[in-house]
């Protein structure tokens, strides 16, 4: 048996049970699966092509948001390689993003200075920078998994952040260093003066990076990453060094994080010390976990959702970070599979007769849930406004409803909505649970009755 085959079968053996595609009773031939992935990649490409012309997103603001989503998606997917696929919880992944971004911005400055390289290749410098740093730090940090790895990554993150603030000449510190993406050889007439051109550059690299990461997970090494995540001891017995596998996954993840950093440099034309900071490392963790750990589409979903929240929710409310925190906690407590997990939960029961009953139960529970939410949001908004902007006075307009927080009425109304919504929700919930039970029983009994 060749090494490749051995890896494939070992990886498949160890990760059995997680691999739903080869579940008994639903045989899918390898060719059919390949055709389906092939088609979905083409669909993704077409979607990326069309998105900036969709009404609502065809403004400069919309295209800028789409660009940010692309960068976040690449970064989140690279984090998913670490946490989701290899089981390495990192609190310092922004180090590779940020240093990749610095590599790219320095290359851009060199191009501005006369180096004959086309701008569209700049993100590759980011990937190379991320990879180089990942190889150095990965060699010492991946010796252990689990909590030790989490801690070392935290330490390395703080270390690099402090170092970047110190090395003003290289990093520009808090102010950062700038470059011009327009000044350089214009290949195919691309001067990157419009956000649309930048978007297409980012979309191209996002698609390439996503495809590469997707296929990396299907190589024997990728399968071994899953094996090391699920059972490092057994992986060692089969003849693999768990550390080697972790190191490989770490270096690959660092390279893609660097690519995302390179895209960041092209998009913003400025990189500052905060690019390697703990806040960015925390955000990517939030993205991947909210989207769904170890789910490829989940990581993209999380990146898109969080970026959308960051960009648009911050326009509506100053308390958006509070809502983000509550959202994250709700996912950790009630839906550890993330958004993708919630969707996948419903996949087996979609075709059952009881699914309609479940939808009805959801509909009934929705009203008290919304009432509860409205009460909570109102309380938070009033409080937040009073404490962060005391100079703005007590007259507040929420969703076109004017109120005066100096009187007790808004407080009473919000508290009443919260309590009433909560009590009603508690009464509605058993209905949902029962409908769910019926649906899963029917699905287990063989789908359509």
């Amino acid at each position: 048996m060749s090494i490749r085959e051995r890896a494939r079968s070992a990886g498949a053996q160890i990760t059995q049970g997680r691999n739903t595609r080869s579940a008994p009773g639903r045989p899918v031939s390898a060719d059919a699966g390949a055709v389906r992935t092939y088609r979905s990649w083409i669909a993704a490409g077409v979607l990326l092509l069309v998105l900036p012309h969709v009404p609502g997103l065809d403004s400069s603001f919309g295209r800028s948001m789409l660009s940010q989503m692309g960068i976040a998606a690449v970064f989140a997917l690279s984090y998913n390689l670490l946490l989701g696929q290899t089981g390495l919880l990192s609190f310092g992944h922004a180090v590779y993003f940020g240093l990749g971004a610095y590599a790219a911005i320095h290359l851009m400055r060199a191009i501005n200075g006369g180096l004959p390289l086309p701008m569209p290749l700049v993100p590759l410098a980011g990937a190379a920078g991320g990879l180089a740093v990942g190889l150095v730090f990965g060699a010492v940090t991946t010796r252990r998994a689990g909590v030790v790895f989490a801690l070392i990554s935290l330490g390395v993150g703080e270390l690099v952040f402090a170092a970047m603030r110190m090395l003003q000449g290289f990093s520009g510190g808090e102010e950062g260093i700038t470059a011009n993406r327009g000044r350089g050889p214009h290949v195919f007439g691309l001067d990157f003066a419009s956000q649309l051109q930048v978007y297409y550059l980012i979309a191209f690299w996002t698609l390439v990076a996503a495809a590469l990461m997707h296929f990396f997970m299907r190589t024997p090494v990728g399968r071994m990453c899953n094996a090391v995540r699920d059972n490092p001891e057994r992986a060692e017995f089969v003849g693999y060094s768990a550390q080697r596998v972790r190191f490989t996954a770490f270096a690959v993840a660092a390279a893609f994080a660097g690519l995302a950093g390179g895209l960041h440099a092209v998009n913003y034309e400025i990189v500052a010390a905060e690019a390697v900071g703990a806040a960015r490392s925390g955000t990517v963790l939030l993205m991947v976990y909210i989207g769904g750990v170890s789910n490829f589409v989940g990581a993209i979903l999380g990146a898109v959702t969080i970026t959308w929240l960051q960009v648009s929710l911050s326009d509506y409310t100053a308390a958006w970070q509070l809502y983000l925190g509550i959202f994250f906690m709700a996912i950790v407590l009630f839906a550890p599979g993330g958004l993708a997990g919630l969707v996948l939960m419903h996949a087996p029961i979609l075709r059952t007769a009881a699914f309609r009953g479940l939808l009805r139960a959801y509909g009934i529970a929705l009203f008290p849930a919304l009432l509860m939410l409205a009460g909570a949001v109102m309380l938070l908004e009033i409080n937040y406004r009073l404490s962060t902007q005391p100079e703005a006075g007590t007259r507040i307009t929420l969703l076109r409803v004017a109120m005066d927080a100096a009187t007790p009425w808004p407080w009473l109304a919000a508290a009443l909505m919260l309590v009433a919504g909560f009590l009603a929700f508690r009464r509605a919930w058993p209905g949902v649970a029962a409908a769910w039970q019926r649906a899963t029983e029917q699905a287990a009994a063989g789908g359509v009755p």
């Binding site: 252990r144 330490g155 750990v293 509550i326 994250f328 550890p336 404490s387």
Partner: protein
């Protein structure tokens, strides 16, 4: 020179003892429950804010007692109603829960007290010079900080060695399965340890809040340093936490006072460097500028070279 050394040493000890109060609770929580508690420094912050608010209403001394008790209750509630439920999801779920909680507590603090630092001044009751050294007076509140931290260490040590619950906790650190097999209520011990750890952190916040800046960012600034202390001291070791806190407190205070760079050190040996040299920037960094890096350098080196820590009994 002697003056500088003495004052740096005194300030280093005060800072170190503050770190110890934070890390002693964390090291117990961590080694017993295996939870990397990101929200521990948040309890410190809550202690500072609670005592400020209570101090306005009932004065400093009652606040010194009541604020830690309140935060202890918060800690117990967090364990009982939050952490226990994510326990099923394994360590990643638990770590993420405390990570999210730290984020949330900072946001709630912003919501209640605003984004700017509050005016948490040293209360008049303890703001007078204790003694004079080299013509400079040393404030009483720093002496009080030292006294409270040392008192805390003695209390913890006695509780650990001389009481029944202390023995159970000690046994739990090394043989958790056996302890529960013997019929001890392990979850209740968890709640207790979490509550006491949070209360200790809050106590540090009460007396440290006005020495540092009381603002919503203070937990995020101090949190990673506390992890460093726990790792360097060794998991589950209270004397280790004390030694490591002192080490980091003193090293950081001294480093801030040193205005030398690598280049200054090499100059007497006849080494000189042009400004245009690529290494010039690296070599001209003053020790004082590099001070924030030192703890994390220590953390990374420790985890790589000696994962047990200085006085730990088992690996991290």
């Amino acid at each position: 020179m002697l003056e500088l050394v003495t004052f740096s040493l005194l300030n280093g000890v005060v800072y170190g003892l503050l770190l110890f109060m934070l890390s002693s609770g964390l090291t117990l929580i961590w080694s017993m429950m295996g939870v990397l508690n990101f929200a521990h420094a948040s309890m410190f912050m809550l202690g500072a804010y609670f005592s400020y608010q209570l101090g306005l209403a009932i004065g400093f001394w009652p606040a010194l007692v009541i604020a830690p008790l309140l935060v202890g209750a918060v800690g117990a509630a967090v364990e009982r109603f939050g952490l226990r439920h994510v326990h099923r999801q394994g360590h990643v779920g638990e770590i993420l829960f405390t990570f999210g909680l730290a984020y949330l507590i900072a946001e709630v603090v912003i919501m209640v007290w605003g984004r700017n630092p509050i005016e948490n001044r040293v209360p008049a009751a303890i703001d007078f010079p204790a003694f004079a050294l080299f013509g400079t007076s040393y404030p009483f509140y720093k002496v009080l900080m030292m006294a409270i931290s040392v008192g805390m260490f003695v209390f913890l040590w006695l509780a650990f060695k001389r009481t029944r619950i202390g023995l159970v906790i000690q046994a739990e650190l090394t043989h958790p399965q056996m302890v529960s097999a013997l019929g001890h209520d392990v979850p209740r011990v968890f709640v207790l340890v979490f509550a006491v750890g949070s209360a200790l952190a809050a106590m540090a916040g009460v007396i440290g809040g006005f020495a540092l800046l009381t603002e919503p960012n203070m937990a995020a600034a101090l949190g990673p340093i506390v992890f460093v202390v726990v790792v360097v001291g060794g998991l589950g070791s209270i004397p280790g936490a004390l030694v490591a806190s002192m080490l980091i407190g003193i090293v950081q205070t001294f480093a801030v006072a040193l205005d030398y760079s690598l280049l200054d050190l090499l100059r007497p040996l006849g080494v000189s460097m042009a400004r245009s040299s690529p290494l010039y920037e690296l070599c001209s960094i003053k020790v004082a500028q590099a001070a924030p890096i030192l703890p994390y350098l220590l953390l990374v080196l420790m985890l790589i070279l000696r994962p047990k820590g200085l006085m730990g009994t088992r690996e991290t």
